[in-house]
Amino acid sequence: MRRVAITVNGTRREAEVEPRELLVYFLREHLGLTGTNVGCDTTTCGACTVLLDGKSVKACTLLAVQADEREVTTIEGLATNGEFHPLQRAFHEHHGLQCGYCTPGMIMAALSLLKENDELTEDEIRAGLEGNMCRCTGYQNIVKAIQSAAGEMLPAGA
């Protein structure tokens, strides 16, 4: 067992973990943060995407011990004071979700993408999210949601 201290959604969390424990299971099973979903186990579907020190990673590809002394943001950490993050609101309002299982990962991947560049073209959004799969294939509205949120996030980010 290894002792880790990971700051999750702004709160420092210390725990004993198996060295083989994946970050996603640490989040889901140790911390009960089940918003981060598991879809494939092979780093293909992106349902488990979270931010590590502000950049998107697939939490099924990272060991919990690799996140030691680092900052992790999950979907549960996005809303502030109960208010939706603009991306969450946009995914809801633009119907960028169907069964919703891919949604948290999509939102986290989109957030990372918009942090890098908030003036993305549609093609850049599509290229940037190629690693996040939606099997209900609500892809069109996901693009619309991100475009709408990008507009909203721009003033705050500028």
Binding site: T34, C40, C45, H95, C99, R126, M133, R135
Partner: protein, 752 residues
Amino acid sequence: MARLIRTEKEVEGKYTEQWIVVEEDSLDQWPEGPQTTVGRPAARVTGPARARGEAEYTADVQLPGMLHTAVLRSPHGHARVTRLELGPALEAPGVRGVLTPEECEHLTSEPGYPGEPVAAVAADTFAQAEAALARIDVDWEIVEPRLDPDDAVRREELIGEPQRYERGDADRGLAEADVVVEAEYRTQTVLHNALETHQSVCVWEGGRLTVYTSTQFIWGVRAEVAEHFGIPEDRVRVVCRYMGGGFGAKTTPGEYTYIAAQLARKTGRPVRCALTRREENLASGNRHATIQRLVAGAREDGTLTALGGEFTMAVGWDGFQSSTAGPMQMLYACDNVRTVEYGAKLNTGPNAAFRAPGFVEGTFGLECLLDELAAKLGLDPLELRRRNYADSDLVDDRPFSSKNLLECYRRAEPHWGRRDEVRARSEGPWRRGVGLASQIWYGAGGPPSYAWVRVGSDGRAHVITGGQDIGTGTTTALAQIAAEELGLPLDRVEISIGDSDRGPYASISAGSSTTPSLGPAVRAAAADVARQIVEVAAQRHDLEERVLSLRDGNVVSADGGSWGLEEITGLFDDAQIIGKGSRGPNPTGMRVLTFGVQVAEVAVDVETGEIRVERIAAIHDIGRVINPLGASSQVEGGIIQGLGHTLSEQRLLDPESGAVLTQTLDAYKLPTIADVPEIVTELLDIPDPHLTNLGAKGLGEPPIIPTAAAIANAIRDATGADVRSLPITREEMLRALEEARERERAVAGSAG
């Protein structure tokens, strides 16, 4: 008074007769077009929970003391277990129980396909359960697997009886034809791959079993699990609050539910059994492959004189024959039709329903054949389809309850009319073209389904039904229907769904039936409440009931009086006004179907065989549209799944052992967000005047049906090549191009 009637019920083209009880008062349909809430775009009522990561899927259910299961599955196509020693696994760290084939009929010692479950281990963690699996001592006697469907048909190793259908005289029809086309089409096996895998968590408490499960039919699971354990159905509670997709493969309990329930009983602990992605792609169902040997004959003017087809379906070790011949029998007014369907029993995973099973495959064959016929006749493909338009159902000789396919064709014209402009954009090796295909499918839904609605003193409504929302937006559509009937804004309607202990029976979510099955019951329940509110208001304010109605959260009278709903319901303090509603019967003696047409634009690189789908227009006739936003999203989803079916998805097997080579999502190619073309959706939104109090049909399946044929026909338009096999890989594309060149050379040779 309750009225007992005998009526016909249909799910995915299978008709059964059953007794139902219906309410005396039937409601008139709302007028055509958008109402206050129904027919207007609504974001998901469950959207906030989903976007916050708060939606609780079965995958998220964590109960105190819950054990995790790993399942020993056969690595072989066909084998017999000659020794199974579970002792070492029981002694492994964390293990609390094991299950053998002797204890559970859903485990077997003669596995007939790779991935068939043999034994199971429950442990404190999934990692411990997996580690214990490796300690099981098992010897296999390997049997040579049967993998060739044609071979299975020759040997008469079949699932079910061959399905034969004939009307008129197909031989005579072919003899009378001016032009005959014959072709063999093949479709591949595809895998559902819902992002949430098949899974259940089971817990026994005081002789009652609670099953948290990812399912399309909580009442079906309840009945089957109760029967398995020999307990009354009311001792089983089935819960599915949120679900990460189904697509047809989650209609029965599945072995994982029985394993979890049995291990839970054995260990006295809650038990989770969740398939991994690899298990999902081995043993959770598939759309079976088909081989379709088809023939069509027509007169010079395009009138079809005969259609014929021999369909071989690679069903697998178990499963069912989907109706691959259905489109050929139903889509066109052809007097002479003969089909035969064989279901091959093979050492491959059992099939399961997958979004319009049979019709997706059969439409690919039929609609490509029609275009080959049009080319030979020198007729416009859209015109050929119009000339053979069916005014009534020729299979059962019944009128359609409503059919607006001609209007779909008319609305397709501007898209179809882009052909010259699209072709003109061909440049270099890239050839461009346009193709279309028609769609026919079921989607009536049917009884029984029930709903309750209660309105509290705060004037808010709560809709309760025991159905499930498999991710399609059912909850939102049902809330809209209740809001409309009660004259309430949508945000004053709550909805509870997905718990057999907390709501009345509701039907399966399969066969494009959820909205047309549950929606009318919800409207009836809301109308029951509305009637009571009006009665109360009339007595309270000394008015006649007929001058009162519910609008914008108020009770309004014809003379201008208006009272907030909560003023009326608030008379009762904590008490509630409660309504109930049931789904009435489908129209007697009529065929209720959905129709549509899709027009695809493609670009093909004739040197490399690369295919790009650039635009798809989808025009569908599904009766009244409840939520245009959810509906267009469903259409896009169906088309994009169809795109995967057409171009990239395929379960690959090792030809010797039958092992599945595409078990993970890096090997099995789903469409990504970067693969998607422009999609234009047009829904006619014409209520079916004969169908229920809504006139709404189902939409889940229609959009995936014509996509593959529309794309293949666009490829023919672009290149002159006949692709006849799915997925249209570069190899298939290059083969078809070479065949077309050879044909041209032969024509040039004979002309010279």
